[in-house]
């Protein structure tokens, strides 16, 4: 009768939210302390864009758009790959036992989504700075690139979890991820037309809804499938 749950909050939603926040804070602290991802990816983005600038100057808007989303893809692989690959097996097992797989994957999804939003904004800034701004509506593109960053990070977070379990290898993640990410990239580059064209085509709202639906499906799949990945 002297269970700690009697006077405290019930286990379940509240404690799981706490777990997620704790794990999220752990990732954030680790990131702030090491600053590996942020500066590493920043340098990666800056040097790639600089090479692009040297080779083509200010490209026209379709090329600009295509390059931007391809950059996002590679940034995402680099930034997200670290989230599982950096942690040793023992440490992952420890997190798993104290927090449970669902909280763990949710905290990773949340952290990577925020990381990718930041990275998308930084690379958007660098793109505009170095390759020029071909967009009539840059503000709406800020929102779209955030949405894109979130969508990409969700898929690659789950694939990083798979790749980390299979083999500590980031190349495997790319092999698994590139075919799967095609629909999202196509959707994103269509939705980007909002920022690139003055006259809007119909159906863009539907496409955004489809993209959000895909994101929701990926989160649900991650929650269902991740516990099986982690079982040993």
């Amino acid at each position: 009768m002297n269970s700690p749950y009697i006077c405290g909050p019930k286990p379940g939603s509240i404690s799981s939210a706490k777990h997620i926040l704790t794990l999220f804070r752990k990732d954030l602290l680790l990131e702030i302390r090491q600053q590996y991802t942020f500066y590493g990816v920043l340098l990666y983005v800056a040097s790639t864009i600089f090479v692009l600038y040297l080779s083509m100057g200010g490209p026209e808007s379709t090329v600009w758009k295509g390059l931007f989303w391809m950059m996002q893809l590679f940034i995402c692989v680099n930034a997200v790959a670290k989230s599982f690959l950096q942690e040793g097996k023992g440490r992952l097992l420890y997190f798993y036992t104290i927090a449970g797989p669902k909280d763990f994957i949710l905290s990773k999804l949340l952290f990577n989504a925020l990381l990718m939003i930041l990275m998308s904004l930084v690379s958007l800034g660098l793109f505009v700075l170095m390759l020029g701004n071909p967009m009539p509506n840059p503000l709406s593109f800020v929102a779209i690139s955030c949405l894109g960053g979130i969508s990409l990070s969700l898929v690659f977070t789950f694939l990083a979890a798979i790749a980390a379990r299979a083999q500590q290898n980031a190349a495997l993640m790319a092999i698994l991820g590139f075919p799967l990410i095609i629909p999202q990239l196509l959707l994103l580059s269509k939705i980007s037309n909002i920022a690139f064209e003055d006259v809007l085509q119909g159906g863009l709202a539907t496409m955004s809804a489809v993209l959000l639906g895909l994101d929701a499906m990926i989160i649900a799949l991650s929650l269902i499938l991740f516990p099986f990945l982690w079982k040993d």
Binding site: F158, I162, R165, I175, P179, P183, L186, L187, F228
Partner: protein, 235 residues
């Protein structure tokens, strides 16, 4: 079910029917396509067979995760392999058909794109499995990826044609086959004959491979020769 005879005979009967009626039956006279419209019975049926085999594979992956029965992992793997074979056949025949009707082996048609994506996804599944040596781990992670990939593939196949159409306004100028082009004469060969016939053939060959894989494994349990047996199974 696997060892019963009736569905294998049914498969033979349906395919013989497809071959005979497919060439003797008359078809709608369409410009450009002309007689090649008969490819429908062979080429398009490959896609149906592929999708059925992939769907069965996912069902076995789910069953594997629920029961941890190693047999279901063999089922899932072999159904995927069967699906890939049919996918490659469908893709190749599609390219050949496209070359002589639309004018190029590759014309970035949404259906071609969807097919390539499906093939890449499932080839990645095989790569993923081969990257692990521990059997339990390979089975479990393979099953998780299989389910995830299948769930992503379905919306992809639904989304891509809608995006590509809007990329090429005015509708494709090419005589792509859709259900409106097939009239009753073709439907009676395609639906009862070609689709179930080719699908059953795929299932048949897959069950043979499954039985062979299970036999190999049993033999390995009796006379363990780990390295060689594993090599054989992965070949």
């Amino acid at each position: 079910m696997i060892r019963q005879k009736w569905w294998k005979i049914l498969c033979g009967v349906l395919l013989v029917y497809t071959f005979i009626a497919g060439f003797l039956g008359s078809v709608p006279a369409k410009p450009i396509l002309n007689e090649t419209i008969r490819n429908l019975y062979f080429h398009v049926a490959m896609w149906f067979a592929m999708m059925v085999l992939f769907t069965v594979s996912v069902i076995y992956s789910v069953r594997y995760l629920r029961t941890n029965n190693h047999k279901y992992d063999i089922y899932a793997l072999e159904y995927t392999r069967g699906g890939i074979v049919f996918g490659i056949l469908g893709f190749t025949t599609g390219s050949i058909w496209a070359r002589w009707t639309w004018g190029a082996f590759w014309s970035s048609d949404p259906k071609q794109l969807g097919a390539v994506i499906a093939l890449l996804i499932y080839l990645a599944y095989l790569v993923l499995r081969n990257s692990m040596t521990d059997m339990d781990k390979r089975a479990r992670i393979g099953a998780v990826y299989n389910i995830f990939a299948f769930a992503m593939l379905m919306p992809t196949i639904w989304i891509i044609p809608r995006l590509m159409e809007s990329l090429h306004p005015g509708g494709m100028g090419n005589p792509a086959l859709d259900t409106h082009d097939i009239d009753a004469r073709m439907r009676v060969v395609f639906w009862p004959g070609a689709v179930p016939g080719w699908t059953l053939l795929g299932v048949w060959i897959t069950t043979l491979r499954i039985r062979l894989a299970i036999l190999t494994e049993k033999k390995e349990d009796l006379h363990p020769a780990p390295n060689q047996a594993r090599k054989l199974r992965n070949a």
